[in-house]
């Protein structure tokens, strides 16, 4: 991990220290990243075909998310995600079918039964907290989960994700402050893609690295190349272990790029130079990790082809499954307002 120039492309140091990841782990990482990417691309196809009114993407964030996910234990850690965390929630056990049900707002969508927009994840069974749209509110929830986990003497880490845009909200400050006072087992993971919708980082903050904020709370803060899953895994593992040891929270900033418009409602050509996007293509985390693994002989072309066809089959199945699922019945409108 390194403090790198956000404008720099492909020049970051990559994690070289022993990480404890086996070749099989690396291939699994790759498969999750590729699955997330392919699923994401399918969602856009459905959107363009008029079948899905709204898509929001993880494209460009896959390495950051999967590197982080591998440092966690979905059976006991709690994920408090934001709307770009498709790859993370897949790792935590949400299926492509679940995602497609949510995309098409069908009954059975486990996150919300079609009530929320796609990208609003949540599943008690998978230790993923329900998420909302208001940016950055979740970082306080993660802090509260960590407070409860500590109080209950659980070996649980709360992991929460937020965009660099979200770090401007007061809630971000309040969460880091609270967590650090109580040395809570929570990790704040900032997926910094340089934009809050159209607003570039220079209009969001006067600093180059969000990680610089950690000092104001007396917690470790690191910036890591978010296009390198192994580098992220290393940083995440350190923070998670620290949390498990009772030493308190950490802030990790993963520098990534957003390869799509903000969402299907956005038109990024109004504010982002297409050349910038093209130049960033070399940082595509999925292509890059694939190339590295092939190069290192960890992955063969045949393995890759098998992975890709497995993924296509999964996504086709999920799409068909969701397309055939019924919409919620209007009578469901008034359910679950109160628990009693």
């Amino acid at each position: 991990m390194t403090h790198h120039d956000p404008g720099g492309v492909g020049t970051e140091a990559r994690a070289t220290a022993p990480t404890g990841l086996s070749d099989a782990d690396l291939v699994r990482m790759y498969e999750f990243m590729a699955l997330a990417r392919a699923l994401d691309e399918r969602m856009w196809l459905l959107n363009r075909a008029g079948q899905a009114p709204f898509v929001i993407s993880c494209q460009g964030h896959e390495a950051a998310q999967i590197g982080a996910a591998f440092a966690l234990q979905p059976s006991k850690d709690v994920l408090v995600p934001y709307y770009r965390d498709l790859a993370m929630v897949l790792y935590f056990g949400v299926t492509p079918r679940d995602i497609m049900l949510s995309l098409l707002a069908r009954r059975g969508d486990p996150a919300s039964q079609g009530r929320q927009m796609p990208g609003h994840f949540g599943s008690r069974r998978h230790n993923i907290l329900t998420t909302s749209s208001p940016v950055a509110t979740q970082v306080l929830h993660a802090t509260g989960v960590a407070l409860a986990a500590k109080y209950r003497r659980e070996d649980t880490v709360a992991w929460t994700c937020v965009g660099e845009g979200g770090t401007s909200e007061g809630d971000f400050h309040e969460a880091l402050n609270f967590a650090s006072i109580h040395r809570l087992p929570v990790v704040f993971f900032v997926e910094n893609n340089g934009y809050a919708i159209s607003v570039p980082q220079r209009k969001q903050m006067a600093i180059e690295n969000v990680a610089a904020r950690a000092a104001g709370y007396n917690m470790p803060g690191v910036t890591v190349d978010g296009t390198d899953p192994v580098a992220v895994y290393a940083a995440a593992t350190e923070a998670v272990e620290r949390a498990r040891r009772g030493e308190g929270p950490s802030l990790i900033e993963a520098k990534v790029y957003r390869f799509t418009a903000h969402s299907s409602d956005d038109d990024d050509r109004t504010y982002r130079d297409p050349q910038e996007l093209e130049a960033q293509r070399v940082r595509d985390p999925v292509a890059r990790f694939r190339a590295t693994l092939l190069e290192q002989g960890v992955l063969s072309e045949e393995q890759d082809a098998a992975i890709r066809s497995r993924i296509t089959a999964q996504i086709n199945d999920a799409t068909e499954f969701a397309e055939q699922a019924p919409y919620p019945d209007p009578s469901e409108l008034t359910l679950h307002v109160y628990g009693s």
């Binding site: 709690v78 408090v80 486990p110 996150a111 919300s112 039964q113 009530r115 929320q116 609003h120 949540g122 599943s123 008690r124 907290l129 329900t130 909302s132 749209s133 208001p134 509110t137 306080l140 929830h141 993660a142 802090t143 509260g144 989960v145 960590a146 407070l147 409860a148 986990a149 109080y151 209950r152 709360a158 007061g170 809630d171 309040e174 969460a175 402050n177 609270f178 006072i181 109580h182 359910l335 679950h336 307002v337 109160y338 628990g339 009693s340």
Partner: protein
């Protein structure tokens, strides 16, 4: 049955439930050594320790936001907002998060959270220590809002609120804390959320109120009856959301006349919804206009005593409304 002040009924219930259930934690500004600025949590940190009685940083959004996280992860947090006037920074966490967690997850998650907040005027608290802004919250589906003023109701509703599976805003009238004393049953007494109480029966006109205005209303009712005027029924709403439509409509259908009394600004107050409910559901029974006695349309209660007095409704202004209504 012991006789207790409102504040003691609340404190004793908190202590009793914290002893009974270690999922309960308390968090807020100055709730520890200081025991809260009103002393509701006095002594608590000594008995339950810093882990269960948390002096938070001065940041309301974090108080509620952290409590939400703790609530979804197995605890029963009781968050204190020092004055209702200072709840605004937590609004997003209350409205968009706590109130919507169950609905947005289609029941997968719940948020069993109590937010206690002192409210109300008459204590020289001025613009920012006197507010009655409960109507901001009573319009929010997913939230429950209670405002007991009787000590037994407070104890019983607090207990219900703590174990309620949903977020409850628990309003405590700060002027009533050490003014209102009454008998409080022991041993796990509860009062259901959502039930109003007829505190005085009558046949000619209904007063619907809550909080300290209930006491002004009772005084007005007694003064009127003492003069040989109408027989007044007085209802304490106790719960502001969900409203007890049954009790409200039954009384108004009987008397045909109603005055709604509250110390919040008149426009858009809880009384507006009560009046609208009556005008829609009890219209055939009405023998006169649905009257409201409430505060004037100024931003908040001023500090200077003559202005504070002029702001708040009282037994006289309520009495005048009763007489106007009787003339219909």
């Amino acid at each position: 049955m012991a006789t207790k002040l409102l504040i003691d009924a609340i404190r004793d219930t908190l202590f009793a439930e914290m002893r009974a259930d270690d999922r309960i934690i308390v968090l807020g500004e100055d709730v520890g050594a200081r025991g809260g600025v009103f002393r509701v949590t006095a002594g608590m940190i000594d008995e339950f320790g810093e882990e269960r009685v948390i002096d938070t940083p001065l940041a309301e959004s974090s108080i509620v936001g952290v409590a939400i996280g703790a609530a979804v992860h197995g605890l029963l947090p009781i968050a204190e907002i020092q004055f209702l006037d200072f709840i605004h920074p937590a609004m997003d966490q209350i409205m968009n998060e706590a109130a919507k967690i169950r609905y947005r997850s289609a029941g997968d998650f719940g948020c069993p959270l109590v937010i206690r907040a002192p409210y109300g005027g008459g204590v020289h608290g001025a613009l920012y220590h006197s507010q009655s802004i409960e109507a901001i919250f009573t319009r929010e589906p997913g939230l429950k809002v209670v405002a007991p003023v009787n000590p037994a109701d407070a104890a019983g509703l607090l207990r219900s609120a703590i174990y309620d599976p949903d977020p409850v805003l628990f309003l405590e009238h700060k002027k009533a804390y050490r003014l209102i004393r009454d008998e409080v049953p022991e041993n796990g007494h509860t009062v259901p959320i959502g039930k109003a109480k007829v505190v005085k029966e009558g046949s000619d006109v209904t007063i619907i109120s809550y909080g300290m205005m209930l006491h002004e209303s009772l005084a007005a009712a007694e003064a009127l009856e003492a003069k040989g005027g109408s027989s007044v029924e007085v209802i304490d709403l106790r719960t502001l959301r969900p409203l007890d439509t049954e009790t409200i409509l039954a009384s108004v259908s009987k008397t045909g006349k109603v005055v709604i009394v509250y110390e919040a600004n008149k426009v858009g107050g809880v009384g507006a919804e009560v009046a609208a409910l009556i005008a829609e559901e009890a219209f055939p029974y009405l023998d006169g206009p649905v009257m409201r006695v409430a505060a004037p349309e100024v931003p908040a209660i001023p500090f200077s005593p003559p202005l504070e007095r002029a702001f708040l409704p009282n037994a006289e202004t309520i009495g005048a409304a009763l007489e106007r209504l009787a003339a219909f």
